[in-house]
């Protein structure tokens, strides 16, 4: 009997040699006359174990990792494909036992990411066999208003950063009459330390397609666009193929599953501009223009793409919808804390020992996440600072690590949950250098529309350089404070308005780094 072996094919697994592992496995098995069926699945999100090879047994899948091509002969010698040994432990140092029993997975609460890594991402049959398209099936029996009500009742808030209630946004689009409406998926995922959108798209593309289709039914939109960053070439390939398969199977097109409803979907690539993650800049870009941020109002929900009512939602907001429809709004709302309902996709990144995707109900503490899941730093040195929520959010010192992961709790201390990125730094970090980078990033990525953002960030870099060089420190620190204030008050969007957050947090919590002796002193 042919044993099924899984070797993931997401960007992270590939970046660590998964293709070489797969090729070696097939070659060695052939040479040994062993029967094996290779499945290129998506990743389960445990970046620290990639490439994570799994072998299917009567008692579920067994995990081996991280595997490199050179490990394959030894693993086969130890009985990787051998029925007897599979029931227990092969005794090989890379053998991790049943995948789902690993505490790193077992302690997660995967609703949105329930399927990643289990399936071949492009197989609709796999998707259906793992509960896929149950949400759409339900949705096709409901009225648009009922669908919007369901999303409202789930308490889902946008996962792109601003945490705006998704159902209310959909209601506005539903209520605005127009000849054409659009669903736009924000897949620009520009924040450093975030990759959950990428995992969803590369490992479970039909989930996003299903979520967008339901959104289309809910608001009466027949055309969707996925605005994908150009830094994700693999996601583009996978989404394009998935859309073609979904069309062929009647899940997209003029008559979705014989319902008479139409929904068309197209992937559009960004072009390396962080600001195009901001929704109005994104819409300008989709229209073929420079990504200049628009004034609001009008809201995109009323005048969005090509002036038509448009839902702009993050990948994860849309990807949460199939669960809400399949299991009911209450099942989603039952999870979480306060006004943060459901689960949050956290991404452990940077200097972390066990990095990857950790989906948890809102409310877990940051420390639990970094210690129990992350296992501390990769370098083994003490953890010193952590930036949660992307480049526009604060650096948190140890005194804030007990905060619960909840939108309101973070906002109260001037921090943000954002898109769930958690970037860890050990004690070798120079926080003045990080503050400089925040300003430099803003200078590079500003759309240029407002002076406080464009010029303020340029000045910010210069002022921090002078502080670090020991020139008139007191005066320059005061000037930096004023600059931050000007940016906060006078910027049209969060790019200029929030860049001061990481800068100020570095100044407040790590003041010594701005007073280091100057080299050569």
């Amino acid at each position: 009997m042919s044993v099924r072996v899984f070797v993931p094919r997401d960007t992270t697994a590939l970046s660590l040699g998964a293709d070489a592992v797969a090729a070696r496995l097939e070659r060695e098995a052939r040479a040994r006359g062993l029967a094996l069926t290779l499945v290129r699945n998506g990743s389960r999100g445990a970046a620290w174990l990639e490439p994570l090879v799994e072998v299917e047994t009567a008692n579920g899948r067994l995990a081996f990792g991280p595997v490199i091509a050179e490990d394959i002969p030894g693993l086969l010698d130890a009985g990787l494909l051998d029925g007897d040994l599979l029931a227990g432990d092969t005794g090989h140092p890379l053998a991790l036992g049943p995948t789902e029993a690993l505490p790193w997975f077992a302690r997660q609460q995967r609703l949105t990411f329930a399927r990643i890594g289990l399936t071949d991402p492009l197989s609709i049959a796999d998707y259906l066999a793992h509960d896929g398209y149950r949400g759409l099936e339900t949705a096709l029996t409901r009225t648009p208003q009922e669908l919007v009500e369901e999303v409202k009742a789930s308490g889902l808030r946008g996962r792109g950063g601003a945490a705006f209630p998704t159902g209310i946004k959909w209601q506005t689009v539903l209520d605005t009459p127009a000849d054409q409406k659009y669903i736009v998926c924000n897949a620009d995922e520009g924040d450093s330390g975030t990759f959950a959108d990428r995992l969803a798209m590369e490992c479970d593309p039909y989930l996003l397609i299903e979520g967008m289709t339901i959104a289309g039914l809910a608001v009466g939109a027949t055309q969707g666009y996925i605005y994908l960053r150009s830094e994700y070439p693999l996601a583009k390939t996978i989404l394009d193929a998935a859309i073609a398969h979904a069309e062929a199977a009647g899940y997209l097109g003029d008559d979705i599953r014989g319902s008479g409803h139409a929904f068309h979907l197209e992937v559009r690539l960004g072009a390396g501009a962080y600001i195009c993650g901001e929704e109005t800049s994104l819409l300008e870009s989709l229209e073929g223009k420079r990504g200049l941020v628009r004034f609001k109002p009008p809201l995109p929900a009323i005048e969005g793409l090509f002036g038509r009512p448009t839902v702009v939602n993050n990948v994860l907001s849309l990807a949460a919808v199939p669960f809400i429809l399949a299991e009911g709004a209450q099942a989603y709302a039952d999870v979480g804390m306060g006004r943060s309902r459901g689960t949050l996709a956290l991404q452990l990144a940077g200097n972390v020992k066990r990095g990857g995707l950790v989906e948890l109900a809102f409310g877990a503490s940051l420390r639990t996440l970094m210690e129990e899941f992350g296992g501390g730093t990769a370098s083994g040195r003490p953890l010193r600072a952590v930036q949660v929520g992307g480049p526009l959010c604060a650096y948190l010192p140890e005194s804030q690590w007990d905060l619960p992961l909840d939108y309101e709790a973070f906002a109260e201390v001037g921090a943000g949950v954002g898109h769930g990125g958690v970037v860890m730094f050990d004690d070798s970090v120079d926080m003045a250098e990080q503050a400089r980078f925040s300003m430099e990033f803003c200078k590079t990525e500003s759309c240029g529309k407002c002076t406080p953002c464009r010029i303020g960030s340029t000045r910010g870099v210069e002022v921090i350089d002078r502080i670090r060089a020991g020139e008139n420190r007191a005066a320059n620190l005061a000037l930096l404070g004023e600059l931050c204030e000007t940016m906060e008050d006078g910027s049209l969007c969060a790019m200029g308005g929030m860049t001061p957050f990481p800068v100020r947090s570095a100044l407040t919590h790590f003041p010594d780094d701005f007073r280091r002796p100057v080299e050569g002193d």
């Binding site: 830094e231 690539l269 990144a349 940077g350 200097n351």
Partner: protein, 164 residues
């Protein structure tokens, strides 16, 4: 460089014609041109402007706005180093210094043998396994100086030419 990457006005116009009917066609057209020719030739600007009914200044403005679009031909390979925070936490700064020094070029420059163009990038979505580097369409993880050198060696090793 292979012939198919050499641009001609006809080849440019063919790419434009294949996409100009799309709503918001400009970015798809620019991507198609860069994918095919490695950059956006200056000669494409008036052709695009005419086909889309826009001014040349508008087209120039869009090309200039986006970091991704190049207006000069790159080397045989484009190597992008992630400069963003998660990779910084794992040593992206020393890596970029090493890359610039060993290749003898800065960002947006190409080695004299025209093998490698170096670019900066802000996040490749491989943030749990930094520092991350992208070579053409391949992303690599945990790239230190040694791995970087091995990568460059691999890129510069061309198959021996068979003498007929």
């Amino acid at each position: 460089m292979s012939d198919s990457r050499e641009w001609t006005p006809q080849a440019i116009q063919a790419e434009i014609d294949a996409l100009k009917h799309k709503p918001g066609a400009l970015l798809p057209i620019l991507h198609a041109l860069q994918d095919r020719f490695g950059f956006i030739p200056e000669a494409a600007v008036p052709l695009i402007a005419d086909s889309l009914g826009q001014t040349r200044a508008e087209v120039h403005g869009v090309i200039g706005f986006y970091h991704h679009f190049r207006t000069a031909p790159p080397g045989r390979h484009v190597v992008q180093i992630c400069r963003a925070e998660a990779c910084q936490a794992m040593g992206a700064r020393p890596l970029e210094a090493h890359a610039k020094a060993s290749l003898g070029i800065d960002y947006h420059q190409t080695t004299v043998d025209r093998e490698v163009t170096l670019e900066a990038v802000y996040c490749l979505g491989n943030c749990a396994c930094g520092p991350a580097v992208r070579v053409d369409d391949r992303v690599l993880g945990r790239v230190d100086a040694e791995r970087f050198d091995a990568l460059i060696d691999e890129l510069q090793t061309r198959p021996l030419e068979v003498i007929a």
